[in-house]
């Protein structure tokens, strides 16, 4: 990652060179070509927009996860936190847990989409903050804290909803999941805007520089006057915020918040980030890479489903291609002069 994509992000690099220098992007391009040859309708705008909408949920969380992993941290709780925030949003939107059943959009006595959105992102950010606090103050490794969070948030979600879903939101809320602006799905737009903002923050702000520095060498960062603990806490707040945002969009899209939402998302999200070239040891990576990683996973899944490949074979193919995409990237990097 790093140098190559950063170059790309500064613009002025031709496409071929870019493809050649960043394995996953090249893989993505190849996959799109292959799937289109297999079934030309793959490249229909409607399917492309489907894919964009599909990757937007895990993609949003992956943006936050990029910050976390850049600091050499990890957040395993995001799937559960997504379910938790979604349930909170649903409770706020519907004005309670009782009316779980009405699919009708009328007659809800809730507080409207804005309150629901606010609740989701605030709860997500706060939950992230608590975890960040445990990581920095109690000195418990991120893996342990967020693994604990994974089970705690799931338990809380199930407790709130007693295992069931809370469904039926009003049209204004549903727009965030199902609406279109022109031909483009709203979730895809939200994801795109968020990705651009994250890119700007990481690349062009003081704060972004600090995140890279803390991940690159925490001790040197401390000795350079950075408030390492605050920065660490902040990245967990950010990923929590994005889990909340993703939860809101997912609930709006499904017209339902489910207690079982987001199971296993942590691995999908972390894959997207890591395939995108961000190092689990911190300090190296970019938002652009994460977007490519998320797109690679999304295109693979959609393309295989599109061709009605059996789900067993799908598992095998997806696993192998992920490994190959990264292996190819390493190989390119070892050859191409940096």
């Amino acid at each position: 990652m790093s140098s190559t994509t950063e170059q790309a992000q500064r613009g002025g690099i031709n496409v071929a060179r870019l493809l050649m220098s960043f394995g996953p992007l090249m893989f993505l391009a190849v996959l799109i070509v292959v799937f289109t040859v297999l079934k030309p309708s793959f490249i229909d705008p409607i399917n492309i927009f489907n894919i964009m909408r599909q990757i937007s949920i895990t993609g949003l969380i992956a943006l936050g996860m990029t910050f976390v992993i850049l600091t050499a941290g990890i957040d395993l709780s995001v799937g559960s936190l997504l379910a938790f925030c979604g349930m909170v949003a649903a409770v706020v939107a519907k004005g309670g847990t009782a009316n779980t059943l009405s699919l009708s959009t009328s007659g809800t006595q809730g507080y409207g989409w804005f309150a629901a959105l606010l609740a989701a992102v605030v709860v997500g950010a706060m939950a992230g903050g608590v975890q960040g606090f445990a990581i920095t103050r109690l000195k418990v490794p991120p893996f342990v804290v967020t693994l604990g969070g994974l089970t705690v948030f799931r338990g809380l979600t199930l407790t709130i909803s007693n295992g069931g879903p809370i469904s039926g939101f009003d049209a204004s809320m549903r727009w965030f999941g199902t609406g279109l602006i022109g031909p483009v799905p709203v979730p895809a737009i939200i994801f795109a805007i968020a990705a651009i903002l994250c890119h700007i923050v990481l690349r062009y702000t003081r704060y972004g520089r600090a995140v890279y520095a803390v991940g690159g060498n925490a001790e040197a960062a401390r000795l350079s006057g950075l408030r390492v603990d605050r920065i660490l806490i902040s990245v967990y707040v950010i990923v929590g915020f994005f889990a909340g945002l993703a939860a809101f969009v997912l609930s709006a899209r499904l017209n339902s918040s489910e207690a079982v939402a987001g199971i296993g998302y942590e691995l999908t999200v972390i894959s997207a980030v890591v395939i995108g070239g961000t190092s689990l040891f911190g300090g190296i990576g970019s938002v652009g890479g994460t977007v490519v990683g998320a797109a690679l996973i999304g295109v693979l899944q959609n393309g295989l489903q599109f061709n009605n490949v059996s789900s067993y074979t799908q598992s095998i193919v997806i696993g192998l291609i992920l490994i190959l995409a990264v292996a190819f990237d390493r190989w390119l990097k070892s050859r191409v002069r940096r």
Partner: protein
């Protein structure tokens, strides 16, 4: 041969702790049959020509100095010899046979032992385990005998004058102690050629002398040594011959002809022009500044994570604006501790610090920096460098506030301009601001770190071993920079294990021992002997602690 040895050690005779060495010249093999022949070795890294057609030879029972500026290719050559990387082309003959080591193990098997420039100990393992890595002594049942391993390693580290519990994890040791452990490990291996890449860069005079007498004994036993250092006095004192590299090419060989090889000759070969005086003695500058930083009764607490760490036992110190205060001391005297305590990096148990007359109590480096204090730490790799980041990011990290607007966006143009200007004033040799800092030579890395602090315009700048691993030319430049900074009114505290350096740039010198200040004198009056006396551990005291 014995005459030569005396010559080599004459400088150190007065403090030689070793028993007089028995003459063993009879056992030394004929000195003119080469043990190692390097012929036309070339090494390319993607685009960079690190070595070009280098040839040299090493004979049994001799110490060959390998010298050159930062980036001249010394380490690269040594890594090729020890199997870390293959040469692009060229031929190596060891002991009369073609030699192509594929990995460090190959080289080890042939009896080539290497002390790498970047310490290669495993921080999480104990001293004993590091010494016996891959060859732990086995007890009955073929299981590792920890007791024997620890006993044996106690003896091995004692050879280099270390007295440590071998069960201590290496991560708890200071850089100097780690360096000594690494040397001890190398010496404990059966070897015919020992490669030492800057083994002394973290050591003080006493340990250096210890090492030199050991090297001398090895030489008498017929072991060949390749020795890299940027401290030319050392090289001149101990080396039988020298090979000098310049920009990856062979610049020439130097031979001891009767007496030690003279420094000007070495420098001329290294930099390609005649060198003027290496260390200019300080002219008595007019340090009329007020007291800027004042420390009274400073004590630190023992950290349970590093029980061997020195604690400060009540330090009083004044630092004036515009002066360079040299801090001398042996390894473990607490100099680094003092710097870290003032900088808010370690917890203070008692004592007061005042800055410009106002009491301050920094509890974190961020506090200290906000107050106008800067620290260039001793361990560049672990405490200063962001290896994954480019030079620009490394440069501006302590001054992000200066190079960003109120909204938090980086003002990249201003940042680049600032770097460009420091690049000029400090003559930093680099390709571009985006270049990874890892790709710079040690001296240039150090200059980037200095620039990092200059960008903050500190009132007080503490530099801990500012020229570790930096070549003569760059070293002089760093000294020049320090003097210029002081002239601008910055109060500078310079910790250094290299006495010539302390003597060269300090306006005033204090010595430390065991967490206390033991003496003070103006730089102009100081001599190595005077300082050594104040620094050295009193043996009687040590015997009855």
């Amino acid at each position: 041969m014995s005459g030569r040895t005396e010559g080599a050690l004459s400088r150190h005779q007065s403090q030689n702790w070793e028993q007089p060495l028995p003459a063993t010249e009879a056992t030394a093999p004929a000195p003119d049959s080469a043990l190692l022949l390097v012929e036309g070795v070339t090494k390319h890294f993607a685009g960079v020509m690190a070595l070009s057609d280098v040839s040299l030879e090493v004979r049994p029972g001799e110490i060959l100095g390998l010298l050159g500026e930062n980036g001249a290719g010394k380490s690269t050559l040594l890594k090729i010899l020890s199997g870390v990387m293959p040469p692009t082309s060229g031929r190596i003959v060891f002991d009369g046979a073609e030699f192509n080591p594929h990995n460090p193990q190959d080289a080890k098997r042939h009896g080539i032992v290497t002390i790498y420039q970047e310490l290669s100990l495993i921080p999480t393992l104990t001293v004993a385990e590091n010494i016996f890595i891959g060859r732990a002594p086995l007890g009955p049942l073929g299981l590792v005998s920890w007791r024997k391993m620890e006993q044996d390693s106690r003896a091995i580290i004692a050879r280099v004058g270390l007295d440590l519990d071998p069960a201590t994890p290496v991560s708890a040791l200071s850089v100097a102690e780690q360096q000594l452990v690494e040397i001890a490990r190398a010496l404990s291996l059966q070897s015919r050629l020992i490669i030492m890449d800057e083994p002394t860069s973290a050591l003080t005079e006493t340990e250096v002398q210890k090492l030199m007498s050991i090297m001398d004994r090895l030489r008498r036993d017929g072991v060949a040594i390749m020795f890299v250092t940027h401290r030319l006095e050392e090289a001149s004192a101990i080396c039988d011959r020298m090979t000098v590299l310049r920009d990856g090419r062979l610049a020439g060989h130097l031979d001891r002809e009767g007496g030690p090889i003279k420094l000007p000759k070495i420098i001329e070969k290294m930099v390609g022009r005649a060198a003027s005086e290496l260390y200019a003695r300080p002219t008595q500058r007019d340090v009329a500044g007020d007291v800027r930083l004042s420390v009274r009764g400073l004590r630190t607490v023992r950290d349970p994570q590093a029980p061997h760490a020195i604690v400060l036992e009540g330090v009083d110190l004044d630092l004036k604006a515009g002066e360079i205060l040299g801090v001398a001391g042996l390894v473990g005297s607490g100099r680094t501790e003092l710097a870290r305590a003032i900088f808010g990096a370690d917890r203070i148990a008692a004592g007061t610090i005042t800055l410009d007359g106002k009491p301050i109590a920094p509890t974190s480096p961020a506090d200290a920096i906000a107050l106008g204090i800067g620290l260039v730490p001793e361990d560049r790799k672990h405490q200063a460098i962001f290896a994954a980041l480019g030079i620009l990011n490394n440069f501006s990290i302590a001054a992000l506030g200066r190079y960003s607007n109120a909204a938090g966006f980086m003002a990249e143009r201003r940042e680049r301009e600032a770097l460009a200007s420091y690049r000029k004033t400090l003559s930093i040799r680099m390709a571009s601001p985006e270049q990874a800092i890892e790709g710079l030579s040690g001296g240039n890395q150090q200059k980037v770190i200095l620039a990092r602090w200059l960008a903050r315009d500190p009132k007080v700048l503490i530099v801990d071993e500012p020229t570790r691993g930096v070549d003569v030319g760059a070293k002089a430049e760093v000294h020049q920079i320090l003097v210029q900074l002081a002239a601008r009114g910055i109060a500078i505290m310079m910790i250094s294990s290299e006495l010539p350096e302390v003597l060269a740039v300090s306006d005033r010198i204090v010595t430390m021992r065991r967490g206390r200040i033991t003496g003070e004198m103006p730089g102009i009056e100081a001599t190595e002997e005077k300082l050594m006396e104040l620094m050295a551990l009193d043996r009687k005291q040590e015997a009855t602690p």
